[in-house]
Amino acid sequence: MMTTDHAPAKPPFWNNPQVRAVAFQAIALIATVSFGLYLFANTQANLQRLGIASGFDFLSSPAGFDIIQSLIPYSATASYGQVFWVALLNTLLVAALGVILATLLGFVIGVARLSKNWLIARLALIYVETFRNIPLLLQIFFWYFAVLRAMPAPRLSYSLGDVVFLNIRGLYLPAPQVEPGFGWAIAAFGIAVFLTLVLVRWARRRQAATGRQFPVVSAALALLLCLPLLTFWLAGSPLHWQLPELQGFNFRGGWVLIPEMASLLLALTIYTAAFIAEIVRAGIQAVSHGQTEASFSLGMNPGKTLRLIILPQALRVIIPPLTNQYLNLTKNSSLAAAIGYPDLVSSFAGTVLNQTGQAIECIAITMAVYLAISLLISLLMNLYNRRAALVER
């Protein structure tokens, strides 16, 4: 029995680090799940006790109220489910336009921040410091209540050649009315796009092989403009413009950009652009100055240097924080409720919730949708980032 004295005693199983790790994770999982189940059961019990209806049946009942802006056909007789789609599309519209405009403006301001021109650089600095330091809601109120409320009444509209009208009810633009035969022009545009792609490939190959450059941009523009226009003319101009006309209280016909949307879009764009400008500046400054000097000594002009040398490298730094700004902009668009723009939060999580009283369902749907939109934006930006990122060999 001597050997047993010296052999190390087998440690009890709870001292085994692997067993412990698994056990703690299991406990955490069980605790989380049972807490979730408790909350769920509790909610159910409470709803039942208070006699509040639950479930998603309400989505098919008629809504009974009108909405000022809808991208799809909608009337008060449509269902709550239809309200959801109208509201979602309104949110996506303002978010998508906001992302595009904020990116463009942000890049311009960001580059201007680094301009050698003292005045331009200072103006860009003032822009950034002003707009990113004022709360977004205040900016929305500023545009809505201060700026757009100062517009004249419909009868006193500012007009541009009796085609475009601006008044307190919005910006009225002529709406294109498509006639049969317009399909040819669209087809011609499709062909032009295809030819442009072929041209770009060919020009790249030729430059790689021979070093000779081809004026791709002007050729592509000519192709993209002339081919559809020529077809359009040959098809007998199958398009007319429906002009907005003052009838009774308001202008009717044409397209209208309502002030609620305009002020929300302006505020989101200007606010987010200030952050994007700083991201762009940081990205450009992250590229070592030697790159610029090397580019100049190779004979490239400043424009080409920025476009071909600096920006591609800066993008690697820019894209991840830029994604955050896109997510912020999309989520900030829910401030729409403050000025009556019919977005998801205002129309669905607001009016529908109130008319049906089904708070849990409406809020759950809305949260799930914002989560899905955010994850989708992240996914797309991550894919783009993978393309722009440094490829290590």
């Binding site: 979730g36 909350l39 769920f40 509790n42 909610t43 409470n46 709803l47 006790r49 208070l50 006699g51 509040i52 209806a53 009974g64 109220f65 009108d66 909405i67 000022i68 009337s75 008060a76 007789t77 209540f145 409320r149 009444a153 307190i168 009810r169 009838q247 009774g248 209280f249 308001n250 009717r252 002030p259 609620e260 409720a337 403050a338 000025i339 009556g340 019919p342 205002s346 129309s347 607001g350 009016t351 919730l353 109130n354 008319q355 049906t356 009283g357 708070a359 849990i360 369902e361 809020i363 759950a364 749907i365 949260m367 799930a368 989560l371 899905a372």
Partner: protein
């Protein structure tokens, strides 16, 4: 289960967690007595109904209903904490237990009484929806509103009636839904909308808040029935009864000619109805689980229905609204309360 679904469920559950707390805290009345005050949801600024003056004191018909409930429970009409709520927030706040009673010009409807788990305790004000327009437009009837832009409060029955009315009369409608009634009023003034629609009482109240009230006129059409009253949650009949009778007491008091001024003298009355009402005879008050003379306290501290009406929206107020439908049944109106017996 995917991520979105998991989140959805968790979120859903989290929302009623607060409600769970109050659900197990015992009956509403016990919780209120322990707390020492009533949590009452009122509107976020509507002259005559609930409006905070420069000192932060609330006034109005809806406010007085809550004061009456506090007088009934505590014998002290000041033991109320008011929570200003928008039209969109109000019902959820009540459902989740954030407030004990909602007294915020809320229309009694079938779906609120059933699917939304609420109980209306009575009608403080019989109202109907109307339209407020600028006189400059020269509109004489709501039927002339084809193509008009209309400001309306989001999440109200008004929003639904508006769509129904325009559809039924084949008029084109452009609605703008704001969360706050103040925003609607500002938009009407600025000309963002041609018309403001709401319950008529609210239109009168909104009008006196405008810079030039005389430039605006309420159109003659009343397009809906809007019985406005206090609301409580399902599931506590005792509390339901107290809130219900706080209002009935005030109506009965007006009918019996008992006012806040003469209530003490009236205790010597020989009229058996008045004796029961003031707790001089019998123990009707005790049946509610309250002090036996609580009805007299309500009348003394808050007043009868007629006093409350006149002081807040009627002759004694800037609104000068006629009693109309809100006169007692004995005077051709609809205000009628069950007897104290």
């Amino acid at each position: 289960m995917n991520r979105a679904k998991t989140l959805t469920l968790t979120a859903a559950a989290m929302m009623l967690l607060t409600a769970a707390g109050s659900a197990y805290a015992g009956k509403t009345l016990d919780a209120i007595k322990e707390r020492g005050f009533i949590k009452c949801g009122v509107s976020d600024g509507l002259p005559g109904f609930s409006y905070a003056d420069e000192k932060g004191n609330y006034n109005g018909i809806d406010v007085d209903v809550c004061r009456a409930v506090a007088a009934a429970v505590f014998g002290d009409a000041t033991k109320v904490k008011f929570t200003p709520l928008t039209a969109k927030e109000r019902l959820t706040a009540l459902q989740s237990g954030e407030i004990d009673v909602l007294s915020r010009n809320t229309t009694w409807t079938s779906s609120r009484d059933s699917a939304q788990g609420l109980n209306f305790t009575g009608v403080t004000y019989y109202d109907g929806q109307g339209f407020l327009v600028n006189k400059k437009l020269g509109v004489k009837s709501a039927k002339q509103l084809d193509g008009a832009t209309v400001c309306v409060q989001a999440g109200t029955t008004t929003e639904l009636n508006l769509s129904d009315y325009f559809r039924a009369n084949k008029l084109k409608l452009t609605p703008i839904s704001y969360d706050k009634s103040d925003e609607s009023a500002k938009s009407l003034e600025a000309g963002r909308c041609d018309v403001l629609t709401s319950d008529q009482s609210q239109l009168y109240a909104q009008r006196i808040k405008l810079a030039k009230p005389d430039d605006y006129v309420v159109l003659p059409e009343v397009i809906s029935k809007e019985p406005l009253g206090p609301v409580v949650r399902h599931g506590d009949d005792e509390w339901f009864d107290i809130v219900k009778w706080a209002l009935f007491v005030m109506v009965n008091a007006e009918e019996a000619g008992v006012t806040s001024n003469n209530v003490d003298a009236m205790k010597k009355s020989t009229n058996p109805d008045i004796k029961r009402l003031l707790g001089v005879e019998g123990d009707k008050g005790k049946d509610f689980g309250l002090a036996n003379d609580w009805m007299a306290v309500v009348i003394k501290q808050v007043g009868n229905y007629g006093e409350v009406f006149d002081r807040n929206v009627g002759k004694g107020s800037p609104l000068k609204i006629e009693r109309g439908l809100n006169a007692l049944w004995t005077q051709g109106g609809l205000q009628y309360a069950p007897p104290v017996r």
